[in-house]
Structures are given as structure tokens and as C-alpha cells.
Amino acid sequence: MLISYNWLKDYVDINMPAEKLAQILAMAGLSVDSVEEKSGDSILELEITSNRPDCLSYIGVAREVAALTGRRLKVPSRVLRTVSGEKTPNAVTVKVENKKLCPRYTALVIRGVKIGESPKWLKERLESIGLRSVNNVVDITNFCLFETGEPMHAFDLDNVAGGAVMIRNARKGEKIMVIDGTERALDETMLVIADSGAPIAIAGVMGGIKTEVGMSTTNILLEAAYFDPISIRRTSRKLALSTESSYRFERKVDMDNIYYTQIRAAQLIMEAAGGKSEGYIDIGEAAVTKKIIDLRPERVSKILGVEIPASKTKRILLSLGMKQKASSKNILKLEVPGCRQDLQDEIDLIEEVARVYGYNNIPETLPCVSEKGDRQPIDIIVDDKIRDTLKSSGLSEIITYSLLSRKVISMAKLDDKDAAVVKNPLSAEQELLRPSSIAGMLGAIRYNINRKNSDLKLFELGKVYFKTAGGSFKERRNLTVGLTGEIHDGWIGKPRAVSFFDLKGITETLFLSLGINDFSVREASEGPFSPAACATVEVKGEPIGVLGEIDQGVLKNFDIKDKVYVLEIDSESLQRSVALKKYFNEPMRYPSASRDMSIVVDNSISNAAIISLITDSAGKILKKAKLIDRYRGGQIPSGKTSLTYRLEYQDVSRTLEDKEVQEAHSRVVRALQENLGASLR
């Protein structure tokens, strides 16, 4: 809402510069977005919150200024106490068919107006807030809207067919050409003003072109009314047509203001365009019962944390237009003015007191409340642990959009059949809620490669979303890791390409840091992954995710040339196995003995099969067996692999003798020879 400083001064004496006024208004809740100097005037751009429709008018803002600065509000008086013909309701017929959507309708006829240019003062007022002057009558209706907050409309009475208006719902198939020059199709929920034939205005939103006041107009019908806020809001939204008028009706206009505005407008029109008023019709609720609120002054201090004397509380509220109805020691009964429909309860009055008293005059204290027990839920603790482990492993965290296009999902060969669909996306990029964060990961990888960041170790912790059979939805936390490019060891080592095993190593590091020891992988085949290197990740035998190399076709869709390795884990399933509590284990007192063993086996024999056989055959003194070297080619026959394992033997209660270590080791060698056809190297 634009407020001209000079115009505002018509309604209240202001003894301070515009900048200072802006500051006072801002600190009282009328946020000022800007103050601009404009040909001897200052224009304040106010942001009026939806609870304060009274401030969508000059008189409303002036009332606020008066209360905040201790000045008197100067409302223009009606010189003509009654407009002539006010009580002769025969100049025009008005019928309100839908009283629910139009509880009050007033109409006034003025005959013999001379349409022309607006007087200078009027033009200046409207132009100061960026409005184009149309003609004297239309300008007055606009002026009154801004002055009082009550939208007005003037119809060319001679173009109202049958000389009668009806306020009714639009009929199926009805259309209207409105004054912005567009034809609008109406439906039966919309309220219209109609003449004997067709709609001549969309009630509270915009008038029709047929009855628009123009140069040839001589007789007018002035309208001021109260339309149902929800109905106006729906109509305005359906038609995507928001006007100064609909904006105010949506926020409720002041019922008490209608008659005043009607007479004020008539008076100004007759001054500017001549003519004679002939009839005034007023249908519906003439007055609204005023709200009376009980205020307990001790609640003011209780809520605000500052002692404000009851007398000061009362003074503030009276300055805002409240009327004292009665008071006892503990209760102040106050009647709320019609323009302040936002004030409904005691707390609303306390806010008024706080705002005028000044938030900055309320002291600062610290709340005396402290949660007992854990300060973080387990899921946040686990997520933070995951973040820290991955970060120290050299991975950087990314956050990608939860909303994606169907196209990107299919580019990643992900299944979208259970994906939740957004009903009102702004663009195709927001069609679906992601059922997986792999597409987002690939997008981030492509974005970086295009900017010459080609060695990437990334992860994302965030939710994935699904629709469920019962028409409901579910969401769960999810972890994605993505690797591509090379790993560098400075100038000492040679760079090498990242591999599946780097990703698997990160996975293992992560599990161990979360206290998860029982995990394994199982060959698998999943949408976005290459069948050559894809596995499900299992914790305690339960699959919780998948890792592997991204399929070449998928990479091509994303225009990525390097190999990409991705891990995706259901972090809620993961969380069930997390064991963050630590227990002390005394370090082994007796030394361990290490023996290396190099064997040659067929390529088809898996490491897991060998480890499992070693563990089974070595007996209980074997503490650990691990692969330390793997070699193919050269001296090894084709189709064979050379593997070197380091076996560590240890007993908790004594130092092992060389002989028993040798025996166990020989047992392992024999078992490998007999069961897997291994030969020693």
C-alpha cells in the first residue's frame, strides 16, 4: 500500500519528517519497505499484514499515526448530513438474491453528472500513488477506496437494462466483458451484479464494460457493499483477477464504514461533476454488534514480562479507538471499533498494548526451562556420526532437490511407479518427489565435471518419498555416496582411478564407525547399476542398500564420461543396527604370530570362499585372516589368480608355541588344496 505523506496529512497533524514517521510506523507493526521522495512529497510503501485491513486506507493509517504520536484523527465530515433523496428508494430497484454472500448492499443514484477531467487536487492525489486519472466520477470512487478502505463502484445507470440491479450468483455459461478488456467466463459459485439481462459486474472484483462510466454518461448508480470474504477470494483466485477492491473485500471491509463512504463519494462527485442525488437504497444488516473484550491487566505483565500499569494499558487501548464499557479491579471491559475486526480476544488487546508500548521497551530475560534427558534424537545423532565419518574419509556433503522431473528419474533408470506426484508443480522440474537420491547425485556429479571438478567424492543425507497403497505417503531417511575420477597421492605416488573397492572401503569404514561389524555384500542387479559390478549391502543378513558401478547407458544419459560408483543405503534400516555405545576390551597380553601364505587358485574362486575356508580350518587360535596382495598375469597361468593372505594367530591365555602355529597353518594349506584346488606359490 502506497501512502503519500502529503495526502496522509489531510487526516492527522504530522510534526516529523517522512523518514521518522516511517520508523515509528515500522516499530509499531506497519512495515515500511521504502520511502521515496517524489516532487515535494514522500511516498511510503507500507506492507500491511493480512490481519490489518483497516490500514489499507488513509484514514486507517492516520488513526494509527494519531495513536502513536498522541495527535487527533481528522476525518472529513459529511457537509450534507443527508443527501437529498436519501430516503426516497424509488429511483432504482435493487434486489439481493444471495444475502449470505452479500449481507449489505447500498446504492445511490445521481442524475445529471457532467463527466470530465478531474480537478487538479484529485489528479495529484491519485497520481502521487501511481494511479492513472480516468474521469472525475471514476477518480472519486478510487479516491474514496483509498481514503476509507471501502471499495466503491459507479455504474452508468442508463446502460443498466431495466433500471434494476440484482445481486445473485452467476448462471451457468454466463460471461462478462470486464473493464480490463477481457471476457471472463463465470460459474455458479461466483457472485455478480446483474441487470435484467446479464451480469454487469463481478461483485467486489471488477465492473463490466457495458455499464462503465464514460464521456457520455449522465446518470450513475453508486455502489458500496459488504461481500463475503471467502466468496470474493475464491472468485478472485479462480479468475486469477486480483484488484484493489477484491483485495479489501477478501480481508473484510468495515460494515460501519459503508454508509459514510457512500455519502462522502456522492458529495465529492456532486462537487466535481455536478448532478443531483435521487435515491438511496440500503439493504441488509444496517449495523453490526460491537465486540466487547475482557482484559485482565495482570495478564499483560504475565505475557510480556514487564510491569505496565493498568492506567497506561487503558490509555493505550483508548487511543486506538477502544471504548471502555465497565471496569472492575481485575477486569477492563472494552468495546472494539468496527474497523478493528482483527481484535477478538484478550491476547489481541495485549498485542496492541505491547506494540504501542514498544517491543524495544520490553526487557531481555532468559527462559527458565530446560529439557531433561537426551538433547538430540537418535536419528540426528546417527546422521551426524555418518557426516563426520564420511567427511574425515574425504567426502563432501551435497544437498540436492527433493523434487525432480519424471525425465531425470527415467534417465537414471529408476522406478517411478511408487513415486509421490506433486499436483501443482511450477515446472516439470518439480513433478515428483524423489524415490531415490541417485538421480540427484548424478546431476551434481555432472554439474561439477562440467566445471572441471572431475575428482569427486560426494555424499547426501536426505529423505526419499513414496506413495503407499492406502492413498497415503511415506518418507524415510536415505544416504547416497558417489565417487568418480582419480585418487591422488601428491607427487610421491601415481594417480589412480577410483574403483568399486574404494566405495566398498568407504562403506566398511562407515559401518565400523557406527559399531556395525556384521555386514556383507551379495551380487545383485539393480536399475541404474552395471551388471558387472553391483551388490546389495546386507547388515546382519538384512539387505539395506546397494552399491556398484553406474551403468554406461545411465552415464550417457547424464553426459558423464568417467566411471561413477554409487552407494545408496536406507539409513533408517541402518540405524537399527547402529551400536554407538563403547565397551572396553583389554588389549591381548600375549603376542600374536603372523604367517603369510601365497596361493594360486582359479579366477572363479571368490575371496569370501577362501576366507571362509581359512576360518573354518584354522581352529580357534586364528585371530584374523586378511588378503594383502592379489596378482594376475606374468608368471601366473592364465585363468588363475595369485592371492597372498596374512594369518594372525593368538591365544588369550598364553604365548603360542611355534609348533602349534605351524600345525594350524598346515591345516589351512591342506584345506585350501583339497577343497579349492589351490596350490602354494
Binding site: 515500522a26 516499530m27 507493526g29 512495515s31 493480512s50 490481519n51 490489518r52 471467502i230 480481508r251 504475565k302 505475557i303 510480556l304 514480562g305 480476544d345 491476547i347 498485542e351 505491547a354 517491543y359 526487557p363 531481555e364 530475560t365 532468559l366 527462559p367 527458565c368 526451562v369 530446560s370 537426551d374 538433547r375 538430540q376 534424537p377 557426516r387 564420511l390 567427511k391 574425504g394 567426502l395 563432501s396 556433503e397 551435497i398 544437498i399 540436492t400 532437490y401 527433493s402 523434487l403 506433486v422 499436483k423 508443480p425 511450477l426 518439480q430 518427489l433 554439474y447 561439477n448 566445471r451 518419498y465 506413495k467 492413498g471 505417503f473 518418507e475 597421492d489 601428491g490 607427487w491
Partner: protein, 342 residues
């Protein structure tokens, strides 16, 4: 003979004492202890010693040999400790081998920082669903259907009554329904609004919501808690300003500003209008207020018995201000050159 022995010993010890490097020591070792060395030669001359002196002279030569050998060994030790010629110096200006660590997303870091501050004030962290229903996102928070106050909360819908939460406030209502006061919680998380994307708007962003309820929470407590937050987040000299505003779920409500972190609230930098605050000296950082009694009623609390405050802030906005980031979209592009700066 005895004199000769003494002479050799003096000469040897003197020469060893001035030897400067390993090569000198090696030469002396050969000179005295080598196959044709002076001491070795003495042993060969034992035949010339009269039989009655043989025992004594033999002992003297052995002692000489041991003394010289020890002196040589000691010297070797001291020469190499002092950086002898045999050690090759390294080029210490070669670059170190860097083990690259990763980085947490700036949004995650800011969430941690915000939550950490409130945890230190006695709050606990709570989560909630991103897919919400209309009841918790709107009605429970006193935002009626088809009311202009909903305009501030444009929302993505998934189905009738199901939507993506447009703020973290629904978790307030969910938490209060299940827990009795006193309580003090912070709620971090993603929120969604169908806003056209530009440098300062994103359809997805993060918020941290806070809520404290007891029989004695006051507006002054809200001011105090948020001032502690602002000073820890933006520095001790940060000044706060509370302006009256309107949110359906709080009353009284406030917009909270901090003094501009670029111009320290002066509105000007180097004689021109400050680009960050636009010359006002203030930056809007969050919305707050006392919990509306209607919200308490909706969750089954008696508004005459409890009071509370609530606040909500945009994590990206805080991060943008803290680091001077210029475009909200950068948070979701994930350019490593940006991420690695935090």
C-alpha cells in the same frame, strides 16, 4: 718401546680430536688400526721386546689399541650426530602430501550451529515429517482455510489434504499433542513453497523452528533467548530489533532484525549506501512471537495455565548473511569449489 707407545697414543688422540668428518676418521682408523697401521706394526715388533718386559708391553699396546678404537668410535658418533657428510639432505620445500578431507554442506553446518546454541540454552532437537496434512500445516496453527493469511504459505499439494510442509511449525503442534509442558525444542528441516526460483527464492529450503512452553514463559524470555542466539551466531556486537508483525500462530508476533553485519548498522560503507542492508542498517533474520492461545487450545493445553514462545528462521538466509553468499541457488548446485570453502 714404552715411550714409542706413549708417543703414538698422544699423536693419535690429538689427530682424532680434530677430525672433522667421516672421511678423516676413516683415514685415521687405517693409519693406526689398519693392516699396516702404526699400532698393528707395534704388535709385529713384540719379538724385539726383551722377554721380561713382554707381559707389560703387551698390556700397554692392547690398552693403546682399545683407547684409540674407542676414541675413533666416539668421534664417529659425534660427527654423524652433527650432520656428517654421509647423510643426504632432503629438499624440505617439496610440497607436503595432503590427505584431502571432505566438507559438510554449509546448510548442515549452520543447522548444527543454530541447534547447538539452543541446546546450550536448555532446548532439545526434534524432527518431523516433510509430507504433512492440512491440519498440522494450517488449521492446528490457526491458519484458516481460504483466508488471506494463507497467502504467505503457498503450498505444494500431493493429494487432497496431503502436502509438502511449507514451514517447520507443524512439528510444534505434533510435539505438543504428545508431550506435556514444560518443554523447549528446536526443529530443523526442509520446507517447500511453490515460489519462482531466483537469487533469493528457492522452492525448497531449510528452516529451524523453536518452541518453549511452561507456566511462566514471557515475551521478555523470547527477546533474551534470541539475543543470545544472535550474538553467538553473528558476533558479540550484534544488536537486535523486534518489530511488531503478524503470524496466525503467535501473538504478540515480531519480525526480528539484526544490525547489518557488513556496515555494523550504520547503513553506509565507504561513503555509499550499504549494499547488504540497502542503507537501513538492519537485516531481517527471523519471525517470532508468543504462542497464540488458539494453538494451545488446538493441542489440548489450557491457555490460562501455560504460555510459550516460538520462532522460525530460514537456514539459507542465515548462511547467506553469515558468509556473504550471493545466490540461494548455489546451495543446491553443489559446486565443489563453493562447498570446499566451508
Amino acid at each position: 718401546m714404552k715411550e714409542k707407545i706413549k708417543e703414538i697414543e698422544q699423536g693419535a688422540l690429538a689427530e682424532i680430536s680434530i677430525a672433522g668428518n667421516g672421511d678423516d676418521i676413516e683415514k685415521l682408523r687405517i693409519k693406526y688400526l689398519g693392516r699396516k697401521g702404526l699400532i698393528t706394526e707395534l704388535f709385529k715388533k713384540m719379538g724385539e721386546v726383551p722377554p721380561e718386559e713382554k707381559g707389560e708391553v703387551g698390556k700397554l699396546i692392547n690398552s693403546l689399541k682399545n683407547n684409540v678404537a674407542k676414541a675413533l668410535d666416539d668421534k664417529t658418533g659425534s660427527v654423524s650426530a652433527a650432520g656428517g657428510a654421509k647423510l643426504e639432505k632432503i629438499d624440505i620445500t617439496l610440497p607436503g602430501i595432503i590427505k584431502e578431507t571432505g566438507t559438510l554442506h554449509p546448510v548442515s553446518q549452520t543447522i548444527r550451529e543454530i541447534c547447538g546454541i539452543f541446546v546450550s540454552l536448555g532446548f532439545k532437537v526434534v524432527g518431523g515429517p516433510e509430507i504433512e496434512n492440512e491440519h498440522y500445516n494450517f488449521e492446528a496453527l490457526n491458519i484458516p482455510l481460504e483466508h488471506p493469511s494463507r497467502d504467505a504459505f503457498d503450498t505444494f499439494y500431493l493429494a487432497d489434504k496431503w502436502l509438502l510442509r511449507s514451514h517447520t511449525s507443524p512439528v510444534q503442534a505434533r510435539f505438543m499433542e504428545k508431550n506435556k509442558p514444560p518443554l523447549a525444542i528446536v526443529i530443523p528441516g526442509k520446507v517447500y513453497r511453490p515460489d519462482a526460483t531466483d537469487a533469493s527464492h528457492s522452492f525448497m529450503f531449510h528452516q529451524v523452528e523453536g518452541l518453549a512452553v511452561s507456566d511462566d514463559i514471557k515475551f521478555s524470555d523470547l527477546k533474551g533467548a534470541l539475543t543470545v542466539f544472535a550474538k553467538r551466531m553473528f558476533g558479540e556486537k550484534t544488536v537486535m530489533r523486534f518489530r511488531p508483525s503478524f503470524f496466525p500462530f503467535t501473538e504478540p508476533s515480531a519480525e526480528v532484525d539484526i544490525s547489518c553485519i557488513l556496515c555494523d548498522g550504520s547503513g553506509a560503507r565507504g561513503g555509499t549506501r550499504c549494499s547488504l542492508c540497502g542503507g537501513s542498517g538492519w537485516l531481517e533474520i527471523l519471525g517470532a512471537g508468543m504462542v497464540n492461545p488458539k494453538v494451545f487450545k488446538n493441542v489440548g493445553y489450557d491457555p490460562d495455565k501455560v504460555t510459550g514462545f516460538a520462532f522460525g528462521m530460514g537456514v539459507e538466509r542465515i548462511t547467506i548473511l553469515k558468509y556473504g553468499i550471493t545466490d540461494i541457488r548455489m546451495f543446491f548446485e553443489n559446486d565443489l569449489r563453493v562447498l570446499k570453502q566451508f
